[in-house]
Amino acid sequence: MSNIEDDIGQVMAGHDVEAPGAADLLRALEHASGPRRRRVRRYRAGWYLPLTAAAAVAAVAVGSAWAGGLLGGRQQAPATVHGGAGRVPRLSCPASYAGQAPWVPARPAGVDGRSRLVPQRTPSSALVCAYTGSNTANRQAGWALSGRRSLTGGLAGLAGQLTWQPRRRPGQPTACTLVGGKQTNYLIGLTYSGGGTIWVAATHDPNDCVSSSNGKFASFGVVGPRVSRAFASGRWPARQPVSCNRPGQDIGRLGQDTAMVPAGSTSLTICAPTARTLTSGYQTLVSALNSLPARPSTRSCSPTPRPSAPKYQLLFSYPQGPPVLVSIISGCHPEIDNLSLQSNSASSILPIIQQLLTPK
């Protein structure tokens, strides 16, 4: 799918909350129904907000908010109602998003929420609650519920995508752009056969910079745009193949904080002046990357490399979940970074990449 097609879906989803609600429609129909209905005269409210008005750039710090706000706000009325015979709980959306994003109304119950964002199995149901505001608003908590939707399809894909989200360690530095604009905080409520429930907080913000969390496990993966698409269509969107050029891809994978390239990758895309995808013959590169001494990433390097210095982005794909991105910037210290780990020198890696790029 081309960029414009991606963007159209996102743009449409972004305007979702401007639509009128069923309550207004019911009121109008009350007047219009009957054997000889009359046309309802309606006054245009005139509150349509052009999105461009939100384009002002403001200094908004969103990157390090996860730990303080999480579960720190006042607790809502119970968002879980236990069903009867089936023992599958029914979830309902909290009336407001009580804390600063990411916030969840309850910790995982009956399922493991410590080792992954969501369990590695398909949920029985998925409810998406939307809370729309602005990242420039004075109040970053207490946003009112703006919409809710039960997902009717793609739940296996949802599990596959969310279960592999990369872990964000408390205090891990993040540099974010500071674009001001509309922000939608989502709560995804998942129920499982046997009675488990888990809430996941995910945010679609102009900077793609707010963490996701279930209350016990936080992730820096970018899932907000995908949740917006799911909210718009009612089904979790299908996974897209990795691309060297597509912005806003969900990149980063569980396990990349312990290995530069976690085990199990099935293809490698080398983003160089000409992109090349390999489905075999790149294990030497994986072994070489994983054997380098590594430390937690600061997500920065210095000094700025020369324009002519080699730069590569390596995208390792997996049968399920997001890919791992390893950036190599020769001449910038440290030279290798996967967003969770860094290694100093790419001198042993560059010849292997060159060899992989050489036509056979």
């Binding site: 449409m12 305007h15 639509a19 309606r42 384009a55």
Partner: protein
Amino acid sequence: MELDDVLTELVAHSGDRLLRVGYQLTHDRAAAQDLVQEALLRVYGSVRRRGRAPEDWYAYLRRAVINEYVRTRRLRSSTEVVTDMVPERPAAGCQEDRIADRAQLWAALGALSSRQRAVLVLRYYEGLADREIAALLGCREASVRSLASRGLAVMRQLAVPVGIAEEDRT
């Protein structure tokens, strides 16, 4: 007069979703509400007369909304003013332009013909396959592809979306 329980149930069950589709088509709250209201009443009257309920109420109502939209747009099109002014394009590659670009894309959607817009809404908002869209619009799959392709071409001309490059994300 009290609303029939069935109609109330339909609105409660599918109203929000239909209104969102209506808003994607019309870009106007009042028009979206009119559209869905008309479609609901048409379907309601038709089902009452026939005495048979459809299997998938939402799909049935969505078809009615789309048909109503295309029908009313066609009636209204003689009053619309066509302009040859293309919105100014943003400079590519600037992160701060992203939101403005999205607004431009939204505006560009509004410039499409009713059938082009219906196809794009069904494809990218409702997530339907071209085959399903063709069945819904009562045309051939090739026509759907052609409408989508022409609509996208117009969008590309009117709005050049610029996203945040991956390396700029962190």
